[in-house]
Symmetry: C3
């Protein structure tokens, strides 16, 4: 393997205003507790038997694989939301499926969509779902705002 | 090095309809045989002496570096295609060059373009081409469809 | 950790014309000295005590984490620029912050913006800045041109 297999994961989310679009994104990562790491975006699988943690104390500057949804808007008053969902399989030898979704609209609606996406993805695989987890974040934009939700993978040692 | 040097590669492609744009993308990855891995996008070099395989049995959830082209459309009846090409060098100490291209249009035309792109990239380096490989996928969109083509890198042990 | 912690970094930039948008991007990577590697995009932290080098002789085909800004235009006569900045902390146990910015406009203006973004990001963290580094590249587009600026992370052994 090129990269080590992730063994642990956690769900997190954040929202922030910022001086520019990237500053707002940076602030949302900070609020989610992953703003001082190097996020490497990946598509979007939870390895079999990956263990959930409530949070992980990531070393500053570490390269961290994550699946995330993020949306940034510079339209004052706009409501934007980002959400991720994980469908966990009945069969523990199978992997879980992560889905990401973001858009204009309230948190509840965006989270509902991403949960349905994860269910659809497991149906496509013909796999039974044991558990469906999700997290979402809403941002009511003042000037430039970002909403972000992420599944972060990790291997502690 | 931060990451291990890839030693093997394979070409693959897929197309799928889906409930959302991301579900269609997920389905295309599945059809390409890489839908249960964590694809990490990279730009776009084949290491020297990398060995081609017809396919690789990737561990579910593994982090897998890949160069890929993907296009998704929600316009029923639209024809979209994605293609990748690899130009392999005469001098085995040099690396190969991967190019990705996608757009509206038929497979043949998109694949032709990506092959020319790889040839142009080798000309820019002043390197002789030993072999030119490519793969392409076409999708005639029903509701929401994705076409995807990829070069996947790997190191088996 | 999934990935090794980077220990060294360098700043680089390039600009190029190309046969397609991706060829122009490839040419800009080549001019920046990183065109024969596999760039893995990450967001955007300099690990604590990371050492600066003027350049690094990267193995061809290696997977290389980098934070970069890039902009491509196919509007002849348009002036585009890309820039990255690193704010280094007073406290050597803290990480540095990398910001990326690109847009239409001259190099000086884009570089000024990205430097302010890095300062703002450190203010958000409440951290003192020891040094502010940046690099920028301008491209006066002939047919299809790319400007690119990058912070490349590495670990030599």
């Amino acid at each position: 393997m090129i990269f080590k297999m992730p063994t642990h994961y956690f769900l997190t989310a954040g929202a922030s205003e910022g001086y520019t679009r990237l500053n707002a994104f940076d602030g949302a990562l900070l609020q989610a507790g992953i703003g001082n790491t190097n996020i490497v975006k990946m598509s979007s699988i939870l390895p079999p038997r990956c263990q959930q943690l409530s949070s992980i104390d990531l070393p500053p500057g570490a390269l961290v694989p994550a699946a995330y949804a993020a949306i940034t808007s510079d339209v004052p008053g706009e409501i934007i939301s980002a959400a991720v969902a994980i469908a966990l399989p009945e069969d523990e030898n199978q992997n879980g499926l992560i889905m990401e979704y973001s858009g204009k609209g309230e948190r509840r609606q965006i989270e509902e969509t991403v949960r349905t996406m994860a269910v659809e993805g497991m149906m496509l695989r013909g796999w039974e779902i044991k558990d469906l987890q999700s997290i979402a974040m809403e941002c009511n934009v003042a000037n430039i705002g970002t909403a972000l939700a992420a599944v972060v993978l990790w291997s502690p040692d």
